[in-house]
Amino acid sequence: MKRMFLPLRICLSLILFLFIGLPFIALLISSIAAGWQWPDLFPETFSFRAWEYILVGSSGTWQSIGTSLLIALIVMIINILLAVPAANALVRFQFRGKRLAEAILFAPIIIPPFVAVMGIHLTFLRLGLTETILGVVLAHISPTLPYMVRAVMVSYSTLSTDWENQARMLGAGPIHRFYHVVLPHLLPGIAAGASLSILISLSQYLITFIIGSGQVVTLPILLFPFISGGDPAVASAYSLLFAGMAILALFSLDMALKKYYQTKNPSVLKVKGAKR
């Protein structure tokens, strides 16, 4: 039986290599190539010039990474504050206009957000919000918030109100109830939403460009001139850095969550045990 699936496994490995491996190998080789002429399968000489330029040169890479992360983090915090009560209302209450509220909150998934950003651009200009971090943060909220709401809704839908009622009977006030009962349960959902929020915010180009007018230099803004016909080695190195930053941001969030559960392990175990 197992033998029958060996060809399938080989086939999948091959596809995986072509699909994931080859692009990264191409980026990696190109980033350390010193001139890579056409028929040569490998560059004749290698150099770390491109990496040197973007990491230690005066290219402004670190500053742009800082700006990117700062914007992504502020957007994430705003999204959490907005999404938790919204998800609570959408999951736990039946009320008139619920579908309208859902339609409003999820509209930016379907309608491209740059349409709204281009529309509001001149108004932002008058309010002095263009070319500022605050303006870019505001522009990043609508593409990211729907995903955060969606993720927290999933968590809320598995949380029974019984838990809070029990805590209430034991004398916990609303703040205690939220902090000790609701929040630990929502955390995986919040983390999933935060990952998406960070990922989407980090990879925005057009919206940042319109509102930031080239003055708010995030990593995508900085690397665009290189990948649209600039030095291929620098472009490849920047691409790897950019992809790495996104993956690392997700990874560290994942780790932080695991660590949280490790330190809080006893209480979580108890809750899980009681549930069964």
Binding site: L41, L82, A139, S142, S203, Y205, L206, I227
Partner: protein
């Protein structure tokens, strides 16, 4: 009273922000596309921008390109993603190990890659002097650099199609795998008892179960590609350009007169995506994609 107004209060901040920033932006854009712009003394509304736009050949060219690229890339991603999802599922049926999770994780890597990087990967691999061309030359299949077809910055949009296919295959897999995972292992055994081989099992059981979600997933990818900017901006040509790029070109071309036209393109784009989104919503509700089947 408190009980009744509580959900509204909880929703107020989030919907308020979206209404203000998103729908405010749409409305602002709509007004300006109609030429209403008090700050520069324009108080009249007219459909001039829309009339000019619908009368220009470049708009229709853009629309055709956008539909073509979105249709081909979503179909390609759908076929590849569907095949890979079934392959991974069959693998998980055959082995008890946790390998299939690792496979899935690896295949989902392109989802986390920013669009600009995905676009550049396609440039590196598929341009005339790119890696694939070098590989073909090394294998002796092509002799001149010109023998490799122009796939990047080409008028047909192959580069954009390739980039989107690469980005969206993992998405399709992500949508389909949970549906396939609901097939019990025992079903496979029962089908074998009745004499169905692997391919019969796929055709008679896996495919019909997957089909509704597959159609929805492909449609979602279609809508996403419709409103894409970064990849066509990087991999397309100046003319014809995909609608979002066309709008950006009009908006940044400098003259104030063309801005209403750019915003009109946006409004048309928004109306089309809303219509497509409603179709997705209607069918996913009707086929109960999000719910389980009993």
């Amino acid at each position: 009273m408190w009980r009744k107004s509580k959900p509204y209060l909880l929703l107020l901040p989030s919907t308020g922000v979206i209404v203000l920033l998103f729908f405010g932006g749409l409305f602002d854009g709509l007004l300006k596309s109609l030429g209403y712009f008090p700050a520069i003394g324009e108080n009249q509304m007219s459909f001039i921008a829309y009339r000019d736009l619908l009368g220009s050949e470049s708009f229709w060219e853009s629309l055709r390109l956008t539909i073509r690229v979105a249709a081909i890339s979503s179909l390609l991603a759908g076929i590849l993603g569907g095949a890979l999802a079934i392959a991974l599922f069959m693998l998980s049926l055959s082995s008890k190990t946790k390998h299939s999770r690792l496979w899935q994780r690896l295949f989902q890597l392109p989802l986390t890659i920013p669009h600009l990087v995905a676009g550049y990967v396609i440039v590196l691999l598929f341009m005339q002097s790119g890696l694939l061309s070098k590989l073909l030359a090394a294998a002796g299949i092509i002799k001149e650099i010109n023998e490799f077809p122009v796939l990047v910055n080409d008028a047909f949009g192959w580069g954009i199609i390739l980039a989107y296919t690469w980005k969206e295959v993992p998405f399709i897999m992500l949508m389909l795998y949970p549906v396939l995972a609901r097939i019990q292992k025992s079903w496979r055994d029962v089908s074998r008892v009745y004499g169905a081989g692997t391919f019969r099992f796929i055709r008679e059981i896996a495919l019909p179960i997957m089909m509704p979600s597959w159609i929805i997933a492909v449609f979602i990818v279609f809508v996403f590609t419709f409103s894409a900017f970064e990849i066509p901006f990087l991999l397309g040509v100046t003319y014809p350009s995909m609608l979002p790029v066309y709008s950006f070109q009009l908006y940044t071309s400098g003259t104030l007169a063309e801005r209403p036209e750019a915003l009109a393109v946006n409004i048309i784009l928004a109306v089309m995506t809303i219509a497509l989104g409603l179709v997705v919503y209607y069918f996913s509700k009707r086929w109960k994609i999000t719910k389980g089947w009993q």
